[in-house]
């Protein structure tokens, strides 16, 4: 049976992936019933759309389609994992809004659309009573990052008048000022030091699962891969600064996590520290570093959403005053949640047999190749994160059994299935990582080719260092 040509049409598939969640968000706002079901169906439609997009995309240009599939799947999982207490109309609408905005940012090749998607993705987190955290720093962080991006886009438009990203490659549009503004946008959005504090505040005082989804959109890394690397070859010697900042963030936040007792903040620090590694990998300009960064993007996204989801389930069942300052013994009540928690956590910090081991291995090789001394901080940060995670696990789940709970539910069937799917992905990914790494290595070539093409383009204008990337490869 043949498939009609329009079904495989890229704009149509993007419209399905992006449009259905927005339509569903509007529907849920009006209908206000069966919110979880509608959310799941919309996220599933996005999964199908993204999967077909990925299937029809050329192998060398499928990074963003793969990321769309990842984020749709994450949203689907988060919608299922959401405790009934949190599953309100507003939450589902916000999650769908975030899904659509994020997919739009991934799929677009236009500067203005990217800016619009960036702004839209922050809207639920700026609105009081929606996903806005009660602390002020998340609001300021998101606003400043948006402002910096808007100014950078404005500068680029004023200097070139071009909105298509492909036409701007290698031209350093807007000069160092635009580059600096883009870096500021990345720093604030990604929570790179010194702008890291808002991430923990958002996790602590905001809704955990939507916040985890916001963080795992990884808009900062997207900006690096989509704009900074391809557009600014002249700033090749400034780019490592971002990498240094990312590695220092990984270490700083890892040390910060060692003494933290609030589970939400601790998880936020772990997520931040591990995701900062993605930036250093993308910047490393080595095949291992870039491949490691892309695979790590997947690992961090899946593991942190799952960990925040499990933590929220524990809060709902055992009270919101969970703390890592004493043993709570929850494994006796929720053994499957405990097992899932430890697997996701150890995958996040690179346990062998999980996909995290492969990504960490590649990342550390990439970071050490490109920055020998600074790169050494990465395995140190990862080791500290492992200790912090294990401390959190032991404090939450091990120790004397608590009494006095009226409800002692382990993972419910819908939660169990979605957690099992995540565990299978990280474990089978770890056992057979080549299946994933090979898929992503074509994208590594793409990112490297982008570096080289941009550099060659700049050489034509007489303002780049063509030898550098070749030497690094």
């Amino acid at each position: 049976m043949s498939v009609p040509g329009w079904v495989l049409n890229k704009p149509f598939l993007i419209t399905i992936s992006v449009g259905v969640p927005w339509f569903a968000a509007v529907l849920v706002t009006g209908y206000r019933r069966h919110a979880r079901a509608v959310g799941c169906i919309a996220a599933f439609a996005s999964i199908v759309g993204s999967a077909v997009l990925l299937a029809v995309a050329p192998k060398s240009d499928s990074l963003y389609q793969a990321l769309m599939l990842l984020f749709s799947s994450l949203t689907f999982g988060a919608t299922l994992l959401l405790p009934r207490r949190d599953c309100t109309t507003g939450t589902i609408v916000g999650i769908l809004f975030l899904l659509a905005s994020t997919l739009l940012a991934y799929s677009t090749g236009n500067l203005l659309v990217l800016l619009a998607a960036w702004i839209l993705s922050t809207v639920p987190f700026l609105w009081a009573g929606w996903f806005r955290a009660s602390a002020w720093r998340p609001l300021v962080g998101l606003l400043l990052s948006t402002l910096a991006l808007a100014l950078a886009v404005g500068l680029i438009l004023i200097s070139t008048g071009v909105t298509a990203i492909n036409n701007l490659k290698g031209q350093s549009p807007g000069g160092v000022a635009a580059f600096a503004l883009l870096v500021i946008a990345v720093v604030f959005r990604k929570g790179i030091c010194p702008a890291h504090a808002w991430v923990a505040d958002a996790a602590e005082t905001g809704p955990p699962l939507p916040t985890a989804l916001l963080l795992n959109g990884h808009f900062g890394a997207l900006l690096v891969a989509k704009l900074i690397v391809p557009l600014f070859p002249r700033t090749d010697n400034l780019l490592p600064v971002l990498s240094y900042l990312a590695i220092l963030t990984a270490l700083y936040v890892a040390i910060r996590a060692l003494g933290e007792n609030s589970p939400r903040r601790l998880l936020a620090f772990l997520a931040l520290s591990q995701s900062a590694c993605i930036l250093s990998g993308l910047e490393s300009q080595t095949a291992e570093g870039i491949a490691g960064a892309i695979v790590h993007w997947f690992v961090v996204a899946i593991c942190t959403v799952a960990l925040f989801g499990i933590l929220r389930l524990l809060e709902v069942r055992f009270g919101e005053n969970l703390t890592a300052s004493k043993h709570l013994g929850l494994a006796e009540h929720a053994p499957r949640l405990a097992v899932s928690f430890v697997i996701f956590g150890l995958a996040l910090v690179g346990l062998p047999g999980t996909l995290g081991f492969c990504s960490q291995d590649l990342l550390i090789h990439g970071a050490l190749t490109s920055h020998r001394l600074i790169g050494l901080l990465l395995p140190i940060a990862t080791a500290m994160n492992a200790v912090s995670f294990f401390r959190l696990f032991t404090r939450l789940f091990l120790g004397k059994r608590r009494t006095g709970f009226t409800v002692m539910a382990d993972a419910l069937p819908r939660e169990r299935w979605i957690l099992a799917a995540g565990v299978l992905f990280v474990v089978f990914g770890g056992l057979f990582p080549n299946a994933i790494v090979i898929q992503r290595s074509s994208e590594v070539d793409l990112v490297q080719a982008t570096h080289i093409a941009a550099n060659v383009n700049a050489v034509g204008k007489g303002d780049a260092q063509p030898g550098k990337i070749t030497a690094r490869r």
Binding site: I255, G259, E260, G329, E332, P352, F390, R391, L398, N434
Partner: protein, 445 residues
């Protein structure tokens, strides 16, 4: 694939397959009975032992068995080779791991009868056996590191086996921290070999490195080996690890895990031989640990701790042998020490019973032992030495003051600077970082 290669693959993968199958079945809601678990464990490890016997037969004819599966993953010029190899060095360790794991499995079936964590113990035993076999049969340092990590995490989970008590859990965390810190040495060493020699495989000969680079790699490997083998200054974790069930203490800290560090150095012998500094450091660390172990062991009040320090003393001597280049003496020493210590650990819970039996048999008390060598020292020195030994050489205190406390202070300082102007967002009770290295300070409530 020849028969020998197939046998090697079977021996390494069989415990891993048991772990995967039973873990999956548990997740699906089925818990196997104790008798079935004991039977399948015995059967698997017996089959593995026969497999090892066949491999010994093949290797005595002078050949090395190598199985290449290609790359686990590969990107650009970097690849992670999946190569298993059984040679004259790895085979004794493989045999040790298989035989002792099987014996411990059989012993534990009775020892842990009706223990709530019976299945958990066996799952971790399978995973440990798989990790150690993978490390010993690895044809590259990359794969060795993967097996090494699996051994580490199972070790930690078994220390915290009695999860309802806070002390084992906290001690497990402590051991985990030391393992992870020392494993940085292994990872950076592997990276350095890839970077300088283009490979970390040793199945086709050792990576070629200059003398300086060989020294750097050797020192990094020494860090990893010292952590795993509880050598000075990391010896403090060993008595803490005794919180686990006795069978796991026997196989981990009497036999396999504690000697894994020595195996790593034996594997890296060609590199060590090129660096006098690294070799000297190995000897020095081994000597210091041996002295430390024998003194502290004399002041240990409980049987398992005393035995663990006896093991440590011997591992220190093994390090000296490795540093001096006496490779095969070290292998023989390891095999003997591991076997005897396992037996002693397994008998430790029955020690009083054994004494009573002995007393009944001889019709009275056993005569006291002879003079101790430390009695030759002046009384003041004896007292000082006793205090030093009682606090286990102050190693934990030194580690706390030099590493853990500064890190926690830095964490507290960072927390304060992060919180500036934000006190209202912090929940009461979550402000002050709590020390995570002193179980005595940790209330369970």
């Amino acid at each position: 694939m020849s028969l020998s290669q197939a046998i090697l693959v079977f021996v390494v993968l069989a415990p891993g397959a048991l772990f995967a199958v039973f873990a999956l079945l548990w997740l699906l809601g089925w818990t196997p009975g104790e008798r079935f678990l004991s039977w399948i464990t015995g059967l698997t490890f017996t089959a593995c032992a026969f497999g090892i016997a066949a491999l010994v037969w093949t290797i005595t004819s002078g050949s090395t068995i190598t199985v290449t599966f290609g790359n686990w993953f590969a990107v650009g010029d970097y690849h992670f080779p999946l190569v298993l190899t059984a040679d004259r060095l790895s085979l004794p360790f493989l045999a040790l791991a298989v035989v002792l794991s099987g014996l411990i499995g059989q012993f534990s079936a009775t020892y842990l009868h009706r223990e709530p964590g019976f299945l958990r113990f066996f799952l971790l035993l399978y995973l440990f056996a798989f990790g150690s076999l993978l490390a010993f049969a690895a044809g590259s340092f990359d794969l060795l590191a993967a097996g090494w990590e699996v051994v580490g995490i199972t070790s930690v989970l078994l220390i915290g086996f009695f999860q309802l008590r806070p002390a084992p859990v906290e001690n497990g965390l402590r051991v985990f921290g030391i393992y992870r810190a020392c494993d940085i040495g292994l990872f950076v060493a592997v990276f350095s070999m890839h970077h300088w020699a283009g490979t970390a495989s040793f199945d086709q000969g050792f990576p070629l490195l200059t003398a300086t680079r060989a020294m750097i790699v050797s020192l990094l490997l020494l860090l990893a080996a010292a952590g795993k083998a509880a050598q000075i200054p990391f010896s403090g974790w060993l008595p803490r690890a005794m919180e686990g069930p006795t069978p796991s203490s026997a196989i981990f800290y009497g036999a396999i895990s504690i000697h894994a560090g020595a195996y790593l150095l034996l594997r890296a012998q060609p590199l060590l031989a090129r660096s006098i500094l690294a070799s000297a450091l190995v000897v020095l660390i081994g000597l210091a640990t041996a002295i430390h172990g024998t003194i502290v062991g004399r002041a240990s009040a409980d049987a398992k701790t005393s035995l663990s320090y006896a093991t440590l003393t011997q591992v220190g001597v093994v390090f000296i042998e490795i540093g001096l280049g006496w490779k095969w003496l070290a292998v023989a020493h390891i095999l003997g020490n591991a076997t005897v210590r396992t037996m002693q650990f397994l008998r430790a819970p029955s020690m009083l019973h054994d004494y009573h039996q002995m007393h009944s048999a001889i019709g009275g008390e056993v005569s006291p032992t002879g003079k101790q060598i430390e009695e030759l020292l002046p009384e003041r020195v004896q007292l000082w030495l006793y205090r030093w030994a009682f606090d286990r050489g102050h190693l934990d205190t030194i580690l706390d003051r030099c590493v853990i406390d500064p890190l926690l202070r830095a964490s507290t300082y960072f927390a304060r600077s992060d919180r500036a102007g934000l006190a209202w967002t912090i929940r009461p009770g979550n402000q002050a970082p709590v020390s995570f290295h002193d179980p005595a300070k940790q209330g369970n409530d």
